[in-house]
């Protein structure tokens, strides 16, 4: 059993959703990938801010 899949068994409701894989979790703290995402999110947020004024 993969560690990230253990939570599916902890609660019946958990079985009806999705739980991130170890790879997805790793990418959440991968500095290179996150720096890229930081730029993308900032650009998107700036566009939302600009559209809102």
């Amino acid at each position: 059993m993969k560690k990230e899949e253990l939570n599916f068994a902890r609660n019946e409701r958990f079985q009806l959703t999705m739980i991130p894989s170890a790879f997805v979790k790793k990418m959440r703290t991968c500095l290179v990938w996150q720096f890229f995402r930081f730029m993308v999110i900032n650009i998107k947020m700036l566009i939302v801010v600009a559209k809102s004024h």
Binding site: N7, F8, I19, V40, I41
Partner: protein
């Protein structure tokens, strides 16, 4: 010389007053009336509530900032509005009661040419038996709504953590303290910060952490949920939120009206009418919001509060308040210029304006108990509305009473939300979300009601860095340090 009086010094009031003072210059007067001596960057109260920040890091003194800006500052509660003056004078005025500046308890009247109501909400703890009395938090639960509350929450949380470290199983309950609460996002962020801290402390296995909320589904957030682009799919925020709860092992109770709070126990009623109890060792329950209870009087002294304010105490503005079924709600119902219909020199900004209807679908249990989130109007929308109102007042003063008012509807406005889990620069994560527009417009965006190019969410360090940047950037802006006007709301 005209005088603008701003009631409230939170995000909306502070933004209105500081921009108005900058644009109007010394030829006109801006007065701020707020019972608080300090400004609070509320989103970071979450970190105070888990001990990752000190209270002093999220607040600063207002008096020197207003002195620098040329704003007259009165540390006082607004009590009433006389929009037509009184028997002695036609000049409109507000009555205030000091809470500081060496004049606590003293009353005063302030005449105005323009008035902006940005008092924010009353934290209505008294709406739920046992949650508190009136606006005062009770002894059984904690809150993170103010910096003082958050500091208190941290101390109480520490007690539970200590017991868990000693091997005792502890139950933590976080969510909403009434069926008509808003601000689920703050509770959402707090529960995952607690979970993160528990993991860090190595006590997660001894903590049963549970969510209780008035949302009919996880991820409603008071906005009726949203559809966002994630991993190449357009998915409901329900899936996004449920995934996060399952990943962190946090169980949930939704569609719940917290009907009573006692020591270590809440009673609740669910949307299907069933009633139940939930025990806890530590509970952070957000109270419902209400207007602050401002009264209004006509020239002859008669009470005209219901003319200016909705029954929930929020101020009526240029919205369409006609009651109508959910299917007939339209984006165009929402206000655009925030001017009161009966008095053209009074505006409301931020959470103080009465929304025409909720964004989430109105629901009630078979017993008739309303259980649905009320609409959020805090944060980015409050700041944007505050600036638009300041621009309108500036134009009215400098161009005359026929000046065009600045318009910005929450149906044409986005919001950015960053919900952290932890505070470390390299080990924390955050759910970064934007929603555009806040109020869904199904005529413009059939299907989801929103622009899915700009309604998105993802979890990671990047959002976490943004949360850090927002903390320092908005405190910098609120202190009016060099270049503050360049930082958007």
């Amino acid at each position: 010389m005209a005088r603008l009086v701003v009631l409230g010094g939170g995000v909306a009031g502070h933004t209105t007053a500081t921009f108005a003072a900058k644009w109007l210059g010394s030829g006109h007067e801006v007065v701020v009336v707020t019972p608080n001596s300090k400004w609070n960057w509320i989103p970071s109260n979450i970190w105070v509530g888990v001990g990752e920040m000190k209270k002093e890091e999220v607040v600063f003194d207002l008096a020197p900032v207003y002195a620098k800006a040329g704003i007259t500052y009165k540390q006082a509660l607004a009590v009433s509005i006389n929009p037509e003056g009184n028997a002695d004078s036609d000049k409109p005025f507000v009555t205030i009661e000091y809470t500081g500046q060496g004049k606590a308890g003293e009353s005063e009247t302030i005449e105005y040419d323009y008035l902006v109501n940005a008092t924010g909400p009353k934290l209505n703890f008294g709406a739920t038996p046992g949650l508190g009395e009136g606006g005062q938090m009770g002894e059984h639960t904690v809150s993170v709504c103010t910096a003082d509350h958050a500091e208190h929450a941290y101390h109480e949380l520490q007690k539970v953590f200590e017991k868990a470290k000693n091997g005792e199983k502890q139950k933590i309950l976080v969510g909403t303290g009434h069926g008509l609460c808003t601000c689920q996002g703050a509770a959402f962020e707090y529960i995952f910060n607690i979970e993160h801290e528990a993991n860090k402390a190595g006590i997660r296995d001894n903590l049963d952490i549970k969510w209780i909320s008035n949302e009919s589904f996880l991820g409603d957030f008071g906005m009726g949920g949203l559809h966002m682009k994630v991993g190449g799919y357009v998915v409901s925020s329900r899936l996004f939120a449920e995934s996060l709860f399952a990943e962190r092992g946090v169980d949930w109770l939704i569609g719940a009206h917290t009907s009573k709070v006692e020591k270590g126990k809440v009673e609740y009623e669910l949307l299907d009418g069933t009633k139940g109890e939930e025990t806890f060792d530590f509970a952070m329950l957000i109270p419902p919001f209400a207007g602050v209870g401002l009264k209004a009087y006509a020239k002859d002294g008669s009470d005209i509060t219901d003319k200016l304010f909705a029954p929930n105490g929020f101020m009526k503005v240029d919205a369409d308040y006609t009651p109508k079924p959910f299917e007939e709600w339209k984006a165009s119902d929402w206000p655009k210029n925030y001017q009161t219909p009966d008095y053209k020199n009074i505006f409301a900004a931020g959470i103080s304006f009465a929304p025409p209807h909720p964004i989430s679908k109105i629901m009630e249990s078979p017993n008739g108990t309303p259980i649905y989130p009320t609409p959020p109007r805090t944060g980015m929308p409050a700041g944007i509305i505050g600036k638009a109102v300041a621009a309108s007042v500036y134009d009215l003063i400098t161009k005359g009473e026929d000046a065009h008012l600045h318009e910005i509807s929450m149906a044409e406005m986005g919001a950015a939300c960053v919900a952290s889990a932890g505070k470390g620069v390299f080990d924390g994560t955050a759910a970064a979300m934007t929603v555009y527009p806040v109020v869904p417009d199904f005529e413009k965006y059939p299907g989801t009601g929103r622009d899915t190019d700009y309604t998105f969410g993802e979890i990671g360090l990047a959002g976490h860095w943004i949360k850090h940047i927002l903390h320092y950037m908005f405190i910098y802006k609120a202190k009016l340090l060099p270049g503050w006007t360049l930082i958007p709301e």
